[in-house]
Amino acid sequence: MSTLEIPVRRRPEPEPPALARRAWVEHLMGTAVSVHVRTPDPDRPDIGAAVARVFAHLRRADAVFSTWRADSDLLRLQHGETDEVHAWLGDVTLLCLEAEERTDGLFSAWRSRRHGRAVFDPTGLVKGWALAGAAAHLDVLPDIAYALGAGGDVVVGAGSGLTGDEPTWRIGVEDPARAGHVVDVVPVRRGAVATSGSSARGGHVVDPRTRCAVVRPGSATVIGPDLTWADVWATAAWVDPGRAARLLAERDPGYRLLGH
C-alpha cells in the first residue's frame, strides 16, 4: 500500500484588488450631481442600480421641495391646493426649526416679508439633507467607496467591507476669487464638506437678521460628519463668520470651519 502524493500548488496570497474609479453625472435640482465610486469592479450591476437610486432619491426631493415647480408638494401646500404632502416635508420643517435654533437664527428657512406672513423656503437645508439621504443608498454596497457632490456640496463615504481601509478623497475647496482654482484641499475618508459664498450666484444667501443678501468676497467651508449640518453651518458662517465660529465650538464641535 502506497501513499499517493498529490502535488499541492500553493496559491499565491490574493493581493488587495486595485480600486478602479467610475463617475456618473446627472443634472438635477438645478445643478449637476456627480457620483464617483472607487471599487475593484465599478461595472458591477448592483452599483449601477444603487447610483440610479441616488439620482431617483434626489429627483424625488426636487419634486417635493422645489420652489420653481408649481406642482411640488411644498408649493401646492403653500398655495392651499392640497393637504396631502410627502412625509419628508414634515421632517425637513422640523430640521429647519432645529437649524434656526442651533445657529441662533443665523440660518433661517422662514423669510419674513414686510407685508404678510413669513414664507417658508427650506432650499438652504434641503440640498445637503437630500444628498446625505441619497448617499445612504451607497452605504449598503459591499467594497465601494464613494463621493457624491452637487453644486459644491460633497459627501464622502464607504460601503461595507472597506471599514478601516477606506481610500482618501481629496476635496478641493474652490477659490472664491478665481473660479476653477483651488485654495485648499481637504482629505476625507468619511464625512462631508459644504461651502457657502457668493462666488457662483451672486449674493444668494440672505442674512435673516437684516433681510439683506450677504455681499462680500470669500466663502465659508465647513467639514464634518453629516452634510445636512455642514451645509447649515456653512450658511451660518457665511452670514456671520465670527458668531458662527463661536456657536460651532460651543454646540457642534464635530464640525470645523475653514474661511477663505
Binding site: 438645478g30 445643478t31 459644491g152 457662483a200 467639514i223 465650538a249 464641535p253 470645523r256 470651519l257
Partner: protein, 162 residues
C-alpha cells in the same frame, strides 16, 4: 522671492498656520522655512515671513543655478505651543516646489477633537494645489448652477472618470 504659500484656519477659533517658503528662483539656492503663528498672539500675520516664530532645519546648501535642484526632501518644523495645544508642520519639497504640507501634530484636547479628526483632517493647504487640480477628487464651492457646471472644475474631474 518670498511667497506666503499657505493659510490654514485650524480649529474654529481661527488658529492660523502660516507657512513661508523661499523658492529657488533666481539664486538657485533652495531653502525653506516653516512658521506657525497664532494671530491672536502675534497680531501681524499679513507679513508672515517677517514674523516667523518657528523654523525648519536643514541648512540650505548653495548649489548651481538649476531650478530642478534645491532643497529636496521633507522638512519638519518645530512644534509650536499655541493656546490650543502643540502644532507641528511638515512639508515636502520636490523640484523646487512644495508638493505637500501636512500638520503632523494637532491639538487633541478632548473627545470632540478626536471625533472630528477621525472624520476629516484638514491638513493640506499649499500653493502647489492651486496648479495641481488634477489631484483633486471632488470640488466644494459656492453653489453653481447646472449651466455653471459646464465650465467648472468639477466637470473636468467628472469627465476624466466617466
Amino acid at each position: 522671492m518670498r511667497r506666503i504659500t499657505t493659510w490654514m484656519l485650524s480649529t474654529v477659533s481661527a488658529l492660523v498656520l502660516l507657512f513661508s517658503y523661499h523658492t529657488s528662483t533666481g539664486s538657485g539656492v533652495g531653502s525653506s522655512a516653516v512658521a506657525v503663528a497664532d494671530p491672536t498672539v502675534n497680531g501681524s500675520t499679513e507679513d508672515g515671513p517677517g514674523s516667523s516664530t518657528g523654523s525648519a532645519t536643514p541648512t540650505p546648501e548653495p548649489t548651481t543655478p538649476d531650478p530642478t535642484s534645491g532643497a529636496e526632501g521633507t522638512y519638519t518644523g518645530d512644534a509650536v505651543q499655541t493656546r490650543y495645544g502643540p502644532v507641528q508642520v511638515e512639508i515636502t519639497v520636490s523640484g523646487g516646489k512644495i508638493t505637500e504640507s501636512v500638520v503632523t501634530q494637532v491639538p487633541w484636547n478632548d473627545h470632540h477633537d478626536q471625533q472630528i479628526n477621525s472624520y476629516a483632517v484638514p491638513i493640506l493647504n499649499e500653493e502647489a494645489v492651486r496648479t495641481q487640480s488634477a489631484d483633486i477628487d471632488m470640488v466644494s464651492g459656492a453653489t453653481f448652477t447646472s449651466d455653471g457646471y459646464v465650465r467648472s472644475l468639477q466637470s473636468a474631474i467628472d469627465q476624466a472618470n466617466l
